[in-house]
Amino acid sequence: MLVLSRRLNESILIGDDIEIKIVQVRGNGPQAVVRLGITAPRSVTVLRKEIYDEVVAANRQSAQPPAALPAALLEALKDRSSGEDA
């Protein structure tokens, strides 16, 4: 991993068109928070990594062998739509 030191308002460039700027640094030690300003083309997806990890985990936990839907789910669905009609 490339590790760089930057000061407030300094940037790094990734390729020609992605810029990451240190916008604010507050706090010290483990509580320190760094705010980053990111300029990138719209085609580049920028995500907090924990959201990405959460989606990967959610997908893996949702995968299952093909099976019929639980009868209880279909019942719940029916109850709902009949409730809406009423």
């Binding site: 989606v55 959610a58 949702s62 062998p65 839907l69």
Partner: protein
């Protein structure tokens, strides 16, 4: 096979699975579908049509993601969410943070992660319409 969709980028966590069949589920109508990996038949997902449970669901879909499935505007794609259906179905959830876009015209599909913090990966399908005893009395 008419209901085969190509996911050029795979699904998050399953980057190698690029072709899926969208199958009807008995009793599921248009609300529930199954998404089955063509090349790995033991991998399947339950899909839910989010507007059936979350009528206000209105994610902002980036134009690049529409382009990736060959669509010019949001009206050309169908949105589904991956559902988790545990044994206790009242606790079923939908991943509204990372919906799937299907373009029925190009047969391309894509999972996107919204930058919108309003939507979570586990939104319960049923808790909102549990009628309160008060409402039932009316």
């Amino acid at each position: 096979m008419e209901n085969v969709f190509e996911f050029p980028a795979g699904l998050y966590g399953f980057p190698d699975l690029k072709r899926f069949v969208v199958a009807d589920v008995p009793g599921g109508g248009d609300v529930f579908k199954q998404l089955l990996a063509l090349d790995q038949p033991e991998v399947g997902f339950t899909l839910v049509y989010p507007l059936a449970f979350f009528p206000d669901y209105d994610p902002d879909i980036p134009p690049e993601d529409l382009e990736a499935v060959g669509a010019e505007n949001p009206e050309q794609v169908l949105l589904y969410a991956i559902a988790r259906v545990p044994e206790s179905v009242q606790e079923a959830t939908a991943n509204l943070r990372a919906p799937l876009l299907f373009n029925p015209f190009t047969r391309k599909a894509r999972q996107i992660i919204l930058s919108d913090d309003r939507y979570q990966t586990r939104e319960r399908l049923f808790h909102r319409m549990k009628p309160t005893p008060h409402e039932e009395a009316l």
